[in-house]
């Protein structure tokens, strides 16, 4: 059972990793936290779940739509909470994006109701049994899609002009601007990418948990925040590893201790990390944490 629980933990961590990647992209670009990303993931997942379960839209199409919805919502969040706020006021975007998140939740509950929505199984009756280990078809989809998105993001950031521009703005926006990089467009692109990842994360998490609820937005944000703090602000590899670690810790705590202690142990893990290694387990570059 331990091996199965470890696999369950890794799969849970995979869903955390995508939303943490999404968080880290924004931190990298703006040195700011977008507290509406959890709700962005939620609204994308709710819309996609409704399309799949009520309009019989194929999962692949709903998945693409979840990326688009996430991208649009994140772009709107950027315009509402970040674009026109002076960099002098560090807390303003935090409060403003929190507010956007509340508005999104309110709009979703008023439009679609407050019930959780079922995400139908994609590959029914598909199971892979390797001795004591069982992986369902849906779990495999989650793993493959998450790995694919992470890989594509890596390639985009490291092998394309726009990716290089994002990394440049992330390292030093002023110098990038002086070198002719369209900084505002790059930041908008970063938010769009971040929203698309959040949308994907929302639907894949719904697939993993079988349901999506309009009230999970802030909880998702909180989890992502713990992941990025543990992995190191702005560090994409660190974020992935921290997400998997938190997923495994949560799963093993539920299986062998008690569900009541699940969040407590994760909070302790994050708190101890902050005391012993304030920059997180990994650091992308010196000074990022300080700048945030």
């Amino acid at each position: 059972m331990l091996i199965q629980q470890l696999v369950n933990g890794v799969l849970l961590g995979t869903t955390f990793a995508l939303i943490a990647l999404s968080f880290n992209l924004v931190v990298g670009a703006l040195d700011r936290l977008n507290f509406a990303l959890g709700e962005t993931a939620m609204v994308s997942a709710i819309c996609a779940a409704l399309l799949v379960s009520q309009a019989d839209v194929p999962f692949v199409v709903a998945f693409v739509l979840s990326l688009l919805i996430g991208a649009v919502v994140a772009a709107l969040t950027y315009l509402l909470s970040f674009r026109f706020v002076s960099p002098k006021y560090h807390t303003a975007p935090i409060l403003s994006s929190l507010g956007v998140g509340l508005v999104i939740t309110s709009l979703v509950t008023r439009t679609f109701g407050s019930d959780q929505r079922r995400v139908p199984t994609v590959l029914e009756d598909v199971r892979f049994e390797l001795g004591p280990l069982v992986v369902t078809g849906d779990q495999l989809i989650i793993l493959v899609v998450a790995a694919l998105l992470t890989g594509l993001l890596y390639v985009f950031l490291n092998r394309t002009t726009w990716g290089t521009a994002i990394r440049g703005v992330s390292d030093d926006a002023d110098t990038s601007g002086l070198l002719g990089v369209p900084v505002q467009r790059v930041i908008l692109l970063t938010f769009v990418l971040s929203g698309a990842l959040a949308g994907a994360s929302g639907l894949l998490t719904g697939l993993s948990f079988h349901t999506v609820s309009p009230f999970t937005g802030f909880e998702t944000t909180l989890t992502a925040l713990m992941v990025v703090v543990l992995g190191g602000l702005g560090n994409i590899t660190g974020g992935v590893i921290a997400a998997l670690l938190i997923g495994v810790v949560e799963t093993l705590t539920v299986a062998y201790v008690s569900a009541t202690f699940r969040d407590l142990l994760v909070f302790i893990l994050v708190a101890v990390t902050l005391v012993v290694r304030p920059q997180g387990l990994f650091t992308r570059q010196s000074g990022v944490a300080a700048r945030v």
């Binding site: 059972m1 079922r118 139908p120 199984t121 079988h210 609820s213 299986a255 009541t260």
Partner: protein, 403 residues
């Protein structure tokens, strides 16, 4: 006295001939059945309605709220009570104990409500009813079923539900024997008083029937993922998985159980049937075969319940009338009937006596309504039939317990 409290104001055309059926003892000094004197200048009768839009039993709360509003709508459309409208003063406690504690005094002192329709969930009811009792205001819950939930607030509180223990223990014990169950797993939220009580209930059922509990696992209400818990239970391959959970959580557990290819029987207490719609919608096919204790028959063939249920289905576009809906509907009608029969004025001077009169009325009568017959026991809980329900083709199908 057996009293049908529904027809005069609700479902008038359908039910009027069925009103005020056989008397069966008790005083009968207030059975005029008329609408009472015209007090239309006195303003509406106000009733408090406390619900929670959040928490594990939010859906039960929502259906109860809908039932109360439906009753008020029908009564007011039929001319109100004593020429006065009924008005619900609603408070959303959002599953927050502090909100409950502050909401009740406000309802009583600022809004001047005559009585309170308490939260449908036991945890909320316990707090709200205790606060109402301190102010000597009657509070009636359309669903609280945890044993002892009314103890701190008697004699001012009632619940239309029979406690889970009184109803579910004998019913589930019979089901366990009937199904030949040998091993069981229990899943519950140890931080939630209601699901903890359900865990105790299951433990008692399995002890009494000689069933071995092979796995006990916990969750936190609202947990999105139950993969870890179900993996732990699956390792023991229990004959039955006992769900100590609100309907939304139970639905996610059911889906995960079937996803992991576990064919254990799923079992719930009466509260799972009461939140049945959310469970069925959330779990889909995974809910098929689930067995729960039941105390409410949404297809009750007896009058006046049958006609009231039919009208509620038509008016509210229900496939099945939810338990909390019918209980809340009945509560409003009970109070309305008391107000009408006694021509209660509920003025500042008479309020204390009027509220005491409501207590006596509730404690003394066998009342008939949408939810069937109910007589309140000495501890304020409803005395209900012992039934069980099996999810078949996406619906709870009510059956009689064999023994």
């Amino acid at each position: 006295m057996r009293r049908a409290f529904t027809g005069r104001r609700a479902a008038v055309a359908v039910v009027v001939p069925l009103l005020f059926v056989a008397a069966c003892g008790g005083s009968d000094d207030n059975s005029s059945g008329g609408g009472g004197g015209d007090q239309s200048d006195a303003g509406p009768y106000k009733l408090g309605l406390v619900y929670s839009s959040e928490g594990p039993f939010a859906n039960n709360s929502a259906t109860a709220r809908a039932g109360a509003n439906y009753a008020v709508e029908l009564i007011n459309a039929d001319g109100g009570v004593n020429g006065r409208d009924l008005e619900l003063v609603e408070v959303d406690a959002r599953n927050d104990p502090q909100s409950l504690v502050t909401a009740i005094p406000k309802l009583v002192s600022e809004d001047g409500v005559f009585a309170i329709i308490a939260p449908a969930d036991s945890a909320g009811c316990e707090i709200a009813c205790a606060a109402a009792a301190q102010l000597e205001v009657p509070a009636i819950s359309p669903g609280a079923g945890r044993p002892g939930v009314l103890e701190p607030s008697r004699p001012w509180s009632f619940t239309l539900a029979q406690p889970d223990a009184a109803n579910s223990i004998p019913v589930l014990s019979a089901v366990v024997k009937q199904e030949g169950i040998k091993t069981a797993a229990i899943i519950y939220d140890e931080a939630n008083a209601t699901t903890k009580a359900q865990n105790d209930l299951y433990t008692k059922v399995f002890e009494d029937t000689g069933v071995e509990v092979v796995s006990t696992t916990t969750y936190t209400s609202g947990d999105p993922s139950f993969t870890s818990q179900v993996t732990s239970m699956a390792a023991e391959t229990p004959d039955v998985i006992a769900l100590a959970a609100g309907p939304a959580d139970a639905a996610r557990i059911a889906v995960e159980v079937r996803t992991q290819n576990l064919d254990s029987l799923l079992m719930g207490t009466g509260s799972l049937q009461s939140g049945g719609t959310e469970y069925l919608n959330g779990a889909g096919d995974a809910a098929e075969g689930t067995i729960t204790a039941a105390q409410f028959n949404p297809d009750n063939p007896d009058q006046p319940a049958a006609d009231l249920l039919a009208q509620a289905r038509e008016d509210n576009d229900f496939d099945v009338v939810p338990l909390n809906f019918s209980y809340a509907f009945d509560i409003v009608n009970m109070i309305a009937n008391y107000l009408g029969d006694n021509e209660v004025e509920a003025t500042e001077d008479s309020l204390a006596d009027d509220r005491q009169g409501l207590l006596d009325y509730l404690q003394g009568e066998t009342l008939e309504g949408m939810s069937g017959d109910v007589k309140f026991a000495e501890d304020g809980t409803g005395d209900r039939p012992q039934l069980y329900a099996v999810v078949t083709d996406g619906k709870f199908v009510i059956q009689e317990v064999d023994s």
